[in-house]
């Protein structure tokens, strides 16, 4: 993702389908297809959680390995057998505990310096919004033909 460009430009309310959005859509739909094939129809809750994990995985793969948050998400997903919630934070004393709550919300936030945390947060928010927009779009197009 070219998240380093245009630091302070306000987000476009009606963005066109850029390359990263397209990649995200492709990855997510492919993951959804896999979930459908591999999850028994009876386990609705299980399927919901698998879809959720597919959402975060798609986000993280699309953002790439250059982002600390995406690496942390993928690490967490690959080790999810051990823990379910937020990974325990090992806050370094040199980084300080500024913005503790934020560190717990942004994947990988625990070990970052404050500056990096803010940058990662901005990128994380952009990617999360894009993912939500995508999922909402799928739900809307699938629902618009309802009874």
């Amino acid at each position: 993702m070219d998240s380093k460009s245009s630091a302070c430009s306000s987000p476009n309310p009606n963005p066109t389908l850029g390359p990263s959005k397209l990649m995200l859509a492709f990855r997510f739909l492919r993951a959804l297809s896999l979930v459908r094939r591999t999850t028994p129809a009876s386990s609705r809750t299980c399927r919901g959680r698998r879809i959720e994990r597919a959402a975060y995985a798609s986000m993280a793969y699309t953002a790439g390995a250059s982002r600390a948050w995406s690496r942390a998400v993928l690490r967490r997903l690959h080790h999810r057998a051990r823990r379910r919630a937020v990974a325990p934070r090992r806050l370094s004393t040199t980084a300080g505990n500024r913005a503790e709550a934020l560190r717990r919300l942004v994947p990988g936030g625990g070990g970052m310096d404050y500056c990096t945390l803010l940058e990662e947060t901005a990128d994380y928010i952009k990617c999360l919004s894009m993912q939500v927009e995508l999922m909402q779009g799928i739900v809307d197009s699938a629902s618009s033909y309802g009874p």
């Binding site: 302070c8 297809s33 934020l102 909402q136 739900v139």
Partner: protein, 86 residues
């Protein structure tokens, strides 16, 4: 981005905080009121992220429900099937 080994300057922090502010939805309304305090902004950022996490969770459940309708013959099911066709 502070690649220097020295202290992070306030200026850099301010720049990043502004950038963050521009990404939050309510900040667009408040632009005329000037910058909010950093701690307030961090709180808003946290609520916003939590909200987005919840939306992902809810939308995942809804997508799961939609998948359940896929095996029927409704036009709805056909749309979903066409979206997920390999």
């Amino acid at each position: 981005m502070s690649g220097r080994s020295g202290a992070i300057t306030d200026e850099e922090i301010n720049e990043l905080v502004s950038k963050l502010q521009s990404l939050l939805p309510e900040s667009r309304r408040r632009r005329s009121a000037g910058r909010v305090s950093a701690s307030k902004l961090l709180k808003e950022t946290c609520s916003y992220i939590k909200g987005l996490h919840r939306e992902v969770e809810d939308l995942s459940d809804r997508l799961s429900d939609l998948m359940a309708t896929m095996d029927s013959n409704s036009p709805q099911a056909e749309i979903i099937r066409s979206l997920l066709r390999p």
